[in-house]
């Protein structure tokens, strides 16, 4: 290894510039919070609110303690320089003892208050509110995508979708979660904390969105090759819009409108697609991959990895391993005209 070259001493001007940049970054940081989609610092529901409050409390306390300790250190150094020798008299020892005892007491008090705050947050977080009929959604983790099943007491009104979970604003949503392969973790920082999805075991969490919006979430437990690209969207709609979306999703897939789409449907049925995907209203009914009955109505493809448009969809069908290496979707081999027809068909599934 070569020796590190000695760094040229920073000139006063460059040091000043660096300090200015740091100050600017600090000033801009809160600005990011309002605009970025996925952050715990912009809570939009009671769960995220309680976590945010706890975080703020800890942050303010820790900052105050840090400032106080640094101030005490600076004061001690200045006084020692002014006074010279260490005060070893009886009175000096007594004063030092009182300071240490006082500081220990304050530390202990802060720790106890933090403990109580953490406990109260956890309690508020765990108890599902009784009021109102909650919406129940089963979330099933797969390597590397999310299945969402909306259950209804009338079976024909239950529906399955993937990677895009719509919820009504203001209504409590209870998520029953499990996994089919390895442990995943459901995390939408703007709405709630994390909860693991465990194979062969059900976990439950609740959340509520108080403002309409699109909240990005992702898997928070390492689950293999494409863990980093196992994301999803939670879309909080006003109740009317949610009901409209629900009715739309309940419907079977639209039959192909023209010859190109009907050729595309045949391509779907005669290639590998049909082995893994469901399109309700057709013969395709496999549950290995995401339900594609209304795939064109979704905003993203491949677990919120790529935008849902014709180009990306074509790339995803032909070469998914180039986009998400290791994904369970195999590369498909089809002629150009077959691919175009298939894309036309898939894009008609609104």
């Amino acid at each position: 290894m070569s020796q590190p070259r000695p760094r040229p001493a920073a000139s006063r001007a460059s040091r000043g510039r660096r300090a200015a940049a740091a100050a600017l970054a600090c000033a801009l940081l809160p600005g990011c919070v309002g605009t970025s989609r996925q952050t715990g610092l912009n809570p939009n529901g009671p769960q995220a609110e309680s976590i945010f409050n706890l975080w703020t409390f800890y942050w303010v306390t820790a900052t105050a303690v840090f400032v106080a300790v640094m101030a005490a250190l600076a004061l001690a150094l200045l006084r020692a320089r002014r006074r010279g020798a260490v005060d070893t008299s009886e009175a000096g020892e007594g004063r030092a003892r009182r300071w240490v005892l006082g500081a220990t007491g304050v530390t202990l008090a802060i720790l106890v208050v933090s403990l109580v705050a953490s406990y109260l947050t956890g309690r508020a977080y765990a108890i599902t509110p009784e009021a109102g009929r909650p919406l129940q959604i089963s979330v099933i983790g797969h390597q590397w995508w999310w299945e969402a099943q909306y259950s209804d007491s009338v079976h024909s009104r239950s529906l399955t979708t993937a990677n895009e979970i719509h919820i009504p604003v203001g209504r409590t949503v209870v998520l029953k979660m499990t996994s089919t392969d390895v442990i995943h973790s459901f995390w939408v920082p703007n709405l709630a904390g994390k909860k693991d999805l465990i194979p062969g075991y059900g976990t439950t969490m609740w959340l509520r969105a108080d403002r309409a919006g699109v909240y990005r979430g992702q898997c928070a437990e390492f689950c293999g090759m494409q863990h980093a690209n196992m994301s999803f969207l939670v879309i909080a709609d006003p109740p009317g819009e949610f009901a409209r979306w629900y009715e739309g999703q309940l419907a079977d897939a639209m039959p192909p409108a023209d010859t190109s789409a009907s050729t595309g449907k045949n391509v779907f049925m005669n290639h590998g697609c049909v082995l893994c995907h469901t399109i309700r209203g057709t013969d395709a009914g496999s549950r290995v991959g995401p339900d594609l009955t209304h795939v064109a109505s979704r905003r993203t493809l491949a677990a919120a990895t790529i935008p849902n448009n014709r180009g990306w969809l074509g790339g995803w069908v032909m070469d998914p391993q180039g986009i998400k290496p290791g994904t369970r979707m195999p590369p498909n081999d089809m002629r150009a005209d077959e691919l175009q027809a298939l894309l036309t068909y898939l894009q008609s599934l609104r």
Partner: protein
């Protein structure tokens, strides 16, 4: 002079050290390149350029003497990751529905090595690709050749034909080979070995 001598010795020390470091680095990189058990090749079939199956699949009745079989070995037989991919395909494609976990039921068992249509890898490949009479469907039109090879590798692991460190060893279901862990299977004993009078007093 003394100072100069020390300098020389120190630089000699450093050369030895560098040489040792080189040897270790080369040895480690060699060891890493030899690690093929877990090698993961994701883009096995380049998109829209499938070379077709390596196996000479039969196209119905062909006149003349029987053609010699093409012997195709697949690298997947030595790759644990490919075998586990084959296992998930085996479950997802519902091979389980007829063959169960190798014990057989609707379809023939897969835990032994004596098979109706041959038990070589290429025979298994061909069986999956083309299907067989009396119920085995043809998967060639829908599964890519690398997927079929992966299933082949997993199917061969059921009868213990793969190396022990390659084959999946921690399943809960009945297996043809010895369990990696767990208790030995014992023949059933009436009433669990207890005298009937203690079971039905």
């Amino acid at each position: 002079m003394r100072v100069g001598g020390m300098k020389v010795r120190r630089s000699a020390d450093r050369t030895t050290c560098t040489r040792l470091l080189c040897v270790v680095t080369v040895a480690l990189s060699l060891a890493a390149s030899a690690c093929q058990r877990e090698e993961r090749r994701f883009r096995e079939v380049p998109p829209s350029a499938t070379p077709g199956s390596l196996v000479n699949v039969s196209g119905g009745f062909v006149p003349g003497p029987p053609q010699s079989e093409v012997v195709a070995r697949t690298p997947y037989l030595d790759n644990a990751w490919a075998v586990s991919e084959g296992e998930s395909l085996y479950n997802q494609m519902n091979c389980v529905g007829c063959h169960f976990h190798g014990g057989g039921g609707i379809g023939p068992p897969l835990m032994d090595r004596e098979w109706i249509y041959g038990s070589q890898p290429e025979n298994i490949y061909q069986t999956i690709e083309e299907g067989r009479p009396n119920g085995m469907p043809a998967w060639g039109a829908r599964l890519s050749s690398d997927q079929i090879w992966k299933i082949t590798a997993y199917v061969m692991s059921m009868s213990g034909q793969l190396k022990k460190d390659i084959a999946p060893g921690r399943q809960d279901h009945m297996q043809g080979k010895k369990q990696e862990q767990g208790t030995e299977v014992k023949p059933p004993v009436p009433y669990g070995g207890q005298p009937p009078s203690t079971v039905f007093p």
